[in-house]
Symmetry: C2
Subunit: 454 residues, 2 copies
């Protein structure tokens, strides 16, 4: 086997950056593949005719970019998720002929009547308010509606605690850019939301993957990671973990909150799918309010295109978060927030939520029926499930085989962080296909794929 | 004079960070003031009982955060703009009783009729489209409208070149976060848009201030800065520079474009006020299309609250920019963009623009009349002007004195970058006060303040 040698001569700028750049390019090009071991610092230095310290710096730079992961005594490896962040999102959901079981569409055909919403706003006394610059935290009425919405998630709060954002992804942007600095470490589940991975990578925030069990993040593992490294914050989805659908018990939530206290962590809790199932356990944030930022989104439960989410933030974090809203978008567009606030206040939002849960329940029943004999986890009203794959399948192989049969699914590799080994599993969206016959057809094809006896 | 000694013992984490943290806190608290010289590395090390290298690292960290600026042979100083970024934005424009001549409000009482806009969208066949996830680059019709809008700025382009953003500030976020990395250097005018300073500071992007003359950024100074340091991109406002209202000549634009080529710079051109005056000179971007990202905003000329702007981007930069849209907000809310696209396509937008120019011209005439005898620069249809202050005024002193008389203005200090010395000047918004009598009254008070013979 020939040793990997990057072509650094073509690059500009300092050598260590050129080395990181060419590693990045080779990963993008597929010359270097996830899990591959890189030459030792000394071998690489000899091959390139440079100092060992330059290679060390270059590898460290590549590690910062999420490309490599090193384990003391084992060597340096291409990170398992090095290629997935850029490839993770299809810009064109619903590619012609494909049945979408990868992206989780929030059953948007059940969304509220937007034409009716417009007509109501048009009748207002002074709708021009919505075309002006406003407080980046949001208009008073909108923050009031945000407090009502947060209550559905089990958080009692007042409007002064609310900061209006342009959707949950934007809320995460404000948390990561406003509360952390480039180079800071954020603890996450070892399988986590790809949109967070991609955002953190862009902002230079380092992710520390924490081992999970059937309840999600393991407190002992979080504790150990905090002792090993300086960790600033922890990202949590305790209600419905994406992608595994795990739910944290009350004692586990208490313990995570206690550890956040012990290690002085900011809690970022973004339980996007928590409202999709009925029955609330209070959020981890409620157990450590002064250090927790809670993302109360509504894309999954009310309407994704509005791009509205509410942050519930403690006094000490409100100023940097409001500044981050200002820095990134000045303010969430008040028009959209007005629509959301109207629907939240008049009860439309809860009706829509109920309708979506009922439709999700119907789809989940179909999945249970069709996928008989396969192992999967999900909520009875869930928008997705986590499918364990029989040997010798890997998530990536299953994803490729499904795609060849006209079905889009997401292998576990899209969710793994750093050098976590990807389990043989895939996330199955139950709501991606609008048409119920397509949906059923997709499930059947996947069932055949996994159960055929060749 | 006693030597400045920070209290670093209270901090957690590595010592160098603790040092930077306490410098930051002392600047916020006013214990350290802009321009103040810090102890030498050795003196500080002795005072704290730590290694010189720890102090060097701490100072460097503080410099990265935009707090300090060092000049070889002269020492280390608190940056002129160290305190302004967090204080720069009033969250509550129009504080009771204050006449607003600081913030530039885009004459929003001339904005289009939003109620009528809503009614038209409500009559569409399928307005629910606007509640769904879409391509982060924007819907096809919206990108088409973006191309029309960019044409008003003097850029001929097709819809495939357009990426829809949630306002110009968001477009800048996508440029800085998507095209640069933390630690990268961005060349800017030595006086620049505060929203860019604040964003760059949050993202860990370092600003390299470039000396200006009456035409804006000086090519020789840009060239020298690129030779001295590795600079990745340059931020430009060639039509109406904020805050000085300077305009770049054609030859100067050619020369800056040529230098961008020589030094392999990405051009980020965000000429927010360029449409407020009639008569176009083609953008610098048009002279180097393959390396230029042009921000075609509409907050100043059409409606700020919509939060819509269009990026015109070359092929090589479109993917990272679209990914940055996705990472930060998933997509600009299609509803708002639909309103903007409708107004752009049916000609409403150009009518509004004309009406705003006419009102700005009227206000500018009033300013010329009232401020007789004072030196100021502005466009005949401009939304703001740049007022030179007679000795011994400084911008900050004038800002404070004006505020004491119930008028909000912005001293030059809000715009300076790094260790640039702030000129004795202030930016005067001509559109902040809605009421024309308030506006005239504000101008009179400022005139008296600057011309009184005590």
């Amino acid at each position: 086997m020939t040793m990997y040698t990057p072509h650094v001569a073509r690059e500009n700028g300092p050598l260590y950056k050129a080395l990181a750049d060419s590693i990045e390019r080779d990963i993008q090009a597929g010359t270097l593949t996830p899990g591959e071991r890189l030459p030792t610092h000394r071998d690489m230095a000899d091959a390139l005719g440079v100092n060992v310290s330059t290679v060390t710096r270059g590898y460290r730079e590549a590690e910062k970019r999420g490309l490599l992961s090193g384990t003391v005594g084992r060597g340096t490896f291409v990170a398992s998720d090095a290629v997935t962040s850029s490839a993770m999102v299809s810009f064109e959901p619903g590619a012609p002929g494909m049945i979408e079981m990868g992206l989780i569409a929030p059953l948007s055909y059940l969304d509220p009547d937007v034409a009716e919403g417009f007509r109501r706003i048009a009748r207002r006394k002074d709708p021009t308010t919505f075309l002006r610059y406003t407080d980046p935290r949001g208009l008073p009425d909108h923050r009031q509606a945000g407090a009502l919405w947060a209550r559905l998630y089990g958080l009692e709060c007042g409007p002064e605690e609310i900061i209006v954002c342009a959707g949950a992804q934007h809320a995460l942007t404000c948390c990561l850019a406003g509360l952390l600095r480039p180079g800071d470490r954020l603890a996450v589940d070892s399988l986590t939301y790809p949109g967070l991975k991609s955002l953190a990578s862009m902002l230079g925030i380092r992710l520390a993957p924490i081992t999970m069990d059937g309840q999600g993040m393991m407190p002992e593992a979080l504790d150990a990671a905090c002792r090993r490294n300086d960790i600033k914050a922890v990202y949590l989805m305790p209600g419905v973990h994406n992608p595994t659908t795990a739910t944290m018990s009350e004692p586990r939530r208490d313990e995570i909150a206690r550890l956040a206290e012990v290690h002085d962590l900011i809690i970022i809790e973004d339980d996007a799918y928590d409202l999709t199932h009925p029955g609330r356990t209070t959020p981890v944030s409620d157990r450590a309010r002064h250090r927790a930022v809670f993302v109360a989104g509504l894309s999954k439960s009310l309407a994704a295109g509005l791009r509205v989410a509410f942050l519930v933030a403690p006094p000490a974090l409100r100023k940097p978060l409001a500044q981050a809203v200002l820095n990134t978008i000045w303010m969430a567009p008040p028009l959209n927030v007005e629509l959301a606030a109207m629907w939240i206040t008049d009860g439309t939002a809860e009706q829509i939520l109920e309708a979506k849960r009922a439709e999700a329940a119907r789809r989940y029943m179909i999945a249970c029926d069709v996928l008989d004999g396969l192992r999967f986890r999900g909520k009875p009203t869930g928008f997705f499930c986590w499918l364990e794959l029989p040997a010798p399948w890997t998530g990536a192989a299953f994803e490729a085989a499904a795609r060849a049969r006209g079905i889009n699914v997401f292998g576990a590799e899209k969710f793994v962080v750093g050098d976590t080994a990807a389990p043989a599993a895939a996330r199955l969206s139950l709501t991606g296909a609008e048409d119920i016959d397509d949906y059923r057809q997709g499930l059947w094809v996947l069932w055949h794929l996994l159960t055929r006896k060749d």
